[in-house]
């Protein structure tokens, strides 16, 4: 559960509304694969990931990035109950996808960088702090069902 004030929750929702979620999703996943290339281990079936350009332009990366970020957006409506909201996805990531939860933390921090890039001066230290709580909460929720 994330401990956020009402003001922080409002900041989070307002800023999300300013984001092109499709573009940000594609860029976030792309950057994870470029900045932390070992994460490509999960995406052998995605085709050409041989260079930064190949990754960023890869349609499967873009589509999957969108999916991931829309799921995160849905989670924003359940900040008081993330563990329950992400229970099924947590089991999936453990039992079927075998993803180390450290990867959720990497993606969360890359998302923060992408939001900063897109929103510029509006992504103030206060907004960042609120989003760091969100991404930590989501990462913990996704790791919660691991065994």
């Amino acid at each position: 559960m994330v401990h956020m004030t009402d003001a922080e929750k409002k900041l989070v929702t307002t800023m999300w509304g300013k984001l092109d979620v499709d573009a940000a999703g594609a860029e976030t996943l792309g950057r994870v694969l470029v900045v932390y290339p070992w994460t490509q281990r999960f995406f052998g079936h995605f085709g050409d990931l041989s260079s930064a350009c190949a990754v960023m332009d890869n349609p499967k990366v873009q589509a999957h990035g969108k999916k991931v970020l829309h799921s995160l957006g849905d989670g924003l409506k359940h900040l008081d109950d993330l563990k329950h909201f992400y229970a099924a996805l947590s089991e999936l990531h453990c039992d079927k996808l075998h993803v180390d939860p450290e990867n959720f933390r990497l993606l969360g921090n890359v998302l923060v960088c992408v939001m900063s890039r897109h929103l510029g001066a509006e992504f103030t230290p206060q907004v960042q702090a609120a989003y760091q709580k969100v991404v930590a909460g989501v990462a913990n929720a996704l790791a919660h069902k691991y065994h």
Binding site: E27, V34, A52, V112, C113, G120, P125
Partner: protein, 142 residues
């Protein structure tokens, strides 16, 4: 982890783009670190940690100047940062986890101000560079 020729070029290019603002960015990165990761404040009980304070701005400039030095000596980071490495190991003893937190906030600050120049390749190179600097600064811890 080795910095390739391309990494070094990317880091230099970003640092040049940041130009005279690096000091300001150092301060902003510290603001972001203290707000997002409050445990980092435990190392600065002697400073006024109100966001944007003169203490934070001064310290941010110190950090930025050290990074500028590092950018100029990427072929020999251990040599260039030896004194700072001693300082962190024997005097400051900042827990290694905190270097990742500050590095992340430096990336967020650069992303905020450089927009399109903060390309995925530049992002990767900067992350590697900051990680290398962090490794050098903690290299004499034990």
């Amino acid at each position: 982890m080795v910095l390739s020729a391309a990494d070094k070029a990317n880091v230099k290019a970003v640092w040049e783009k940041a130009g005279g603002n690096v000091g300001k960015y150092g301060g902003e990165a510290l603001d972001r670190t203290f707000l997002s990761f409050p445990t980092t404040k435990t190392y600065f009980p002697h400073m006024d940690l109100t966001p944007g304070s003169a203490d934070i701005m001064a310290h941010g400039k110190k950090v930025a100047d050290a990074l500028t030095l590092a950018v100029g000596h990427m072929d020999d980071l251990p040599g260039a940062l030896s004194k700072l490495s001693d300082l962190h190991a024997y005097k400051l003893r900042v827990d290694p986890v905190n270097f990742k937190l500050l590095s992340h906030c430096l990336l967020v600050t650069l992303a905020c101000h450089l927009g399109g120049d903060f390309t995925p390749a530049a992002h990767a190179s900067l992350d590697k560079f900051l990680s290398s600097v962090s490794t050098v600064l903690t290299s004499k811890y034990r």
